[in-house]
């Protein structure tokens, strides 16, 4: 019995064990490293020039002070203390204040080769003493040594240096401080001087690559002893708030789903869905060729959400906010009032302004700051200009995951080339399997005119209409027209009009015919009546004649009788 009771307890403690970690406070990095840097051990950050090593380590220190109450020591081998203060000031870190509060020590170690002559054996106890003194004065828990490798250029005796560095890292571990060491990237090794040999608990590599004139910064955890970690290259961003890393691919597909629906805002379009709208938290792709009113549909959607007091972010990659507002006003949608009331935020930028990742990060930041329930990206296909198809797809996967995780309803528009068949375009191909609802707007050309039609290609988890609905845009907005079936399928535009006219004409004709028939009947009746009257007259005159005849006959016979009687009398 005891055994069975103890066993789950033991396994529980095993499962509960967590590798002690020090949170970095760098957005996203803690997720990748599953909690931060190894506590009480040194971590190496390596990378080429200008990739953000100093900033990352500085952010680690400052966040430690401001968010986790852990004082820190920054030992700079490159930049003087004042320069450092100035540099990170622009990122909103006030080193001087922290220094005054005795939470931060910045020590600039200057190694000038010209000043130093080496004569005999030495050790780096001076450095140890300085560091130890700094740690002791503020009871530091975090230490940054930025770029330790400068020592190698200042001192000749490499054998001593290497032995001393090894001792330094041991000493740091003994002191129990969480240390970050930065190192310049070498040609064949991670760092120029092979520091990874000594610091091997956790190694993080930063990278700064330019692909097709667009630069992207990336971060990768190369090793992390005693802990699992994200292994991919994660893009990161340096902006006015410092570094933020984007660990999107570490997300799982386990977001909550909602069966609540939201309206598309386009009158008539909702009716094409079984549930009169789309699910909250799902995403819609509106694809179509140029000038098929994708943006208008997007604006309608934005307008509808804002009217329902849902916060909406509109990413416009083609138009400036002012232009968008003006254009939508022409069809009776007032986006300006939503901007003023704070429900709508239009974010415009050229897609080529940043790398894909930066766009994604901007989005992420906006989502974090603005907390929208609806996001519109217009158009998503423009992003293809800044990345290869594979990259775009991976970015979109991350984007959609991110939106779903936050239960944000999203609408993307996608421009595709005019093709005769319905084969999806590049943008669609990369997105179509990811989106939940796919609406296509397309040109229907024929009889010398162009009409717009909208139909639903797919709608996950919901029945939908299979009809192609024609719609028109006037100064009153979008209007979906009723389906008009002709002998050769659905009629649009002029064909619809001529069909309607034909219908009217034939109706008129029918009316005419009926009236003619009525008149005919009336006439016939009249004729008959006349005939009857004539016959009656004839009959009457015949009767009259006969009566006269009869009377004369009677008179005649009377006269005859009289004559005979007279004769007899005479006789």
């Amino acid at each position: 019995m005891n055994f069975t009771v103890q066993k789950p307890k033991a396994s529980q403690t095993e499962a509960d064990f967590k590798f002690p970690k020090t949170p970095t406070g760098v957005e996203g990095l803690d997720e990748i490293t599953e909690g931060g840097f190894p506590k009480g051990r040194p971590t190496l950050i390596c990378g080429g020039a200008g990739c953000g090593k100093t900033l990352l380590s500085m952010q680690f220190l400052i966040k430690g002070i401001t968010e986790f109450g852990e004082p820190g020591v920054f030992m700079s081998f490159e930049e003087p203390s004042n320069d450092l203060s100035m540099n990170v000031r622009s990122l909103g870190f006030d080193l001087e204040k922290l220094k005054a509060e005795k939470k931060l020590v910045v020590d600039h170690v200057r190694v000038e080769r010209s000043e130093i002559e080496e004569a005999g054996e030495y050790d780096l106890d001076g450095l140890f003493v300085r560091l130890g003194y700094a740690i002791d004065t503020i009871k530091a828990k975090r230490v940054v040594l930025d770029t330790l490798e400068s020592l190698f250029s200042g001192l000749d005796n490499q054998a001593i240096l290497r032995a001393e560095l090894r001792r330094l890292f041991h000493w740091l571990k003994e002191r129990g401080v969480t240390a970050v060491i930065t190192g310049e990237r070498g040609e064949a090794t991670l760092t120029r001087q092979g520091l990874e040999e000594y610091v091997s608990d956790c190694v993080i590599m930063l990278d700064h690559r330019v692909i097709e004139q667009v630069s992207t910064r990336r971060l990768r955890v190369i090793k992390y002893r005693g802990s699992t970690h994200g292994t991919n290259e994660y893009p990161f961003l340096i902006d006015e708030d410092g570094i933020s890393v984007l660990p999107i691919t570490s997300l799982k597909l386990d977001n909550e789903v909602s069966s609540e629906t939201v309206s598309t805002g386009v009158p008539g379009l909702d009716e094409m869905f079984e549930k009169r709208g789309i699910y909250r938290g799902s995403n819609i792709l509106v694809s179509g060729t140029a000038g098929t009113a994708k943006t208008t549909i997007a604006a309608y959607f934005a307008n509808e959400q804002c009217l329902k007091k849902e916060k909406t972010v509109y990413f416009a990659f083609e138009e400036s906010p002012q232009q968008l507002v003006r254009n939508m006003k022409s069809i009776g949608i007032d986006l300006e009032k939503h901007i003023k009331s704070g429900y709508l935020e239009i974010h415009s930028s050229r897609p080529s302004l940043n790398g894909l990742e930066l766009h994604l990060l901007t989005l992420r930041k906006m989502i974090k700051d603005f907390k929208p329930t609806t996001v519109i990206i217009d158009p998503i296909s423009n992003l293809i200009t800044v990345g290869s198809m594979h990259e775009v797809r991976s970015m979109l996967v991350r984007l959609i995951d991110m939106l779903k995780l936050n239960n944000i309803t999203a609408l993307f528009t996608s421009l595709n080339k005019q093709t005769d068949d319905l084969r999806p375009d590049l943008a669609e191909e990369s997105v179509s399997s990811l989106v939940d609802t796919w609406i296509t707007v397309r040109d229907m050309e024929g009889l010398g005119e162009r009409n717009r039609g909208v139909f639903i290609i797919k709608s996950r988890g919901m029945g939908h209409s299979n009809q192609v609905r024609e719609f028109i845009i006037s100064n009153k907005g979008i209007q979906l027209l009723d389906v008009e079936l002709g002998p050769n399928g659905i009629l649009t535009g002029a064909a619809r009009k001529s069909h309607e006219l034909n219908k009217k004409v034939s109706k008129l004709k029918l009316q005419d015919e009926l009236e003619r028939k009525d008149r005919e009947i009336a006439r016939r009746k009249k004729v008959l009546q006349a005939n009857i009257e004539a016959l009656q007259g004839e009959f009457e005159s015949a009767v009259e004649e006969l009566t006269i005849l009869k009377a004369t006959e009677e008179l005649k016979s009377k006269a005859l009788i009289n004559k005979s009687t007279d004769k007899a009398k005479k006789k």
Partner: protein, 96 residues
């Protein structure tokens, strides 16, 4: 004579009485007596006692010998066993 500042002011930074620092001290005393007799002063700073002094002279390695005066400041690190380098470092022309 003694109260006037010496022509050569030397500072020796050490971190505790390690064999290296003892050796360095004896070495510099020997060289100074040989070449700068009567016109030098040596001050010993133990960083274990006064760690805050390490930053001022940018001390990294110990033992470090700093020539404060005459200027410019020169630094020689190590146990000073290499006499030639010490003299070059301090810019002392050996007396012949």
């Amino acid at each position: 004579m003694r109260k006037e500042p010496a022509e050569w002011q030397l500072l020796l930074y050490i971190a505790g009485q390690t064999p290296k620092s003892i050796k360095a001290l004896s070495n510099i005393k020997k060289y100074a007596e040989e070449h700068l007799a009567g016109k030098y002063s040596i001050e010993i700073i133990d960083l274990l006692v006064n760690p805050q002094l390490a930053e001022g002279d940018q001390i990294l390695a110990v033992p470090t010998l700093v020539r404060k005066f005459p200027e410019p400041i020169r630094k020689i690190i190590g146990d000073l066993s290499n006499e030639e380098r010490v003299l070059v470092g301090l810019n002392i022309k050996p007396l012949k």
